[in-house]
């Protein structure tokens, strides 16, 4: 049954992934595929001698659109990712990229000097520096004998 498909002639714009996947199977690559179905944005946390470093993938965001809030051991990052202005939905051939509002609250390690927090945003990657504070002295807790 012939079905009319609008813009049919442009269907020649195909993905080539399977072929590329096959070609790469001989190369020493670990092929991961599309990273979908995850919380947005994905974050990593690293430890360095004098700071913790949090990184998040936020492609297409602008530095001024990212809000960071820090308090009581929690770091909240939020923002909004808007699609290109005024492109109607029916013009999309493919829509895989995240869009909309996002927010994540992350508990950060102890010993962080919250007031020393700095952040930078380069090439779609957010980096938050969480400087380590003074190591607190271990406190001895007396254990008293129970009396029952």
């Amino acid at each position: 049954m012939p079905v009319f498909r609008w813009g049919h002639s442009w269907d020649a714009f195909h993905d080539f992934e399977r072929e590329v996947d096959r070609l790469l199977s001989s190369v020493n690559f670990a092929f991961q595929g599309i990273r979908l179905g995850r919380e947005y944005p994905s974050v990593n946390l690293y430890e360095l001698p004098d700071e913790y470093l949090l990184t998040a993938e936020l492609p297409g965001s602008k530095a001024e659109d990212i809000a960071l809030e820090m308090g009581s051991g929690l770091l909240k990052i939020k923002g909004r990712r808007s699609e290109p202005n005024g492109v109607p939905e029916e013009r999309y051939r493919r829509q895989e990229r995240f869009r909309g509002e996002w927010e994540r609250t992350l508990s950060i390690p102890d010993r962080v000097r919250e007031e020393g927090l700095t952040a930078e945003f380069v090439d779609g990657i957010l980096k938050v520096h969480l400087p380590k504070g003074e190591q607190s002295q271990p406190r001895r807790i007396r254990v008293s004998e129970g009396s029952d």
Binding site: A30, G33, Y46, E57, P59, V87, R93, F98, D123, I125
Partner: protein, 138 residues
Amino acid sequence: MSEPENISAHDQNAEAVPHEAEEPRFLFTPPIDIYETGDGLVLHADLPGVSIKTLELQVQDNKLTLFGRVDPVVPPQAVPLHQEYAVGDFLRSFILSDEVDHERISATMTNGVLKVVLPKAAQTKLRRIEVNPEPSAG
């Protein structure tokens, strides 16, 4: 076809530290959007960590390939405590229709997003062929 190897071997950034050949590198398929405009198609690809310097975009025959190298943003001595994403490069290829004007493809890179504009080729003009009567020999 050895094209993907050619692409990954290409390194425009002379400043970059050479990668250890033995270390396997992750390779991801970046998410994309494609939408139609009056003049053709526009493609957006999320390539966080890729800059103009580390992006390789090429058209060969009718295949458009994007490869973005991601250099580590954390110092090598950083100890991962919590990891939701692995750091790796991005690769994706597309077959272009003949209707795309390959010569006029243009691209920009902003905040880790690649935008590729694929203009439609101008419609081939109808050419009228004059039919003349064969001059009679007599």
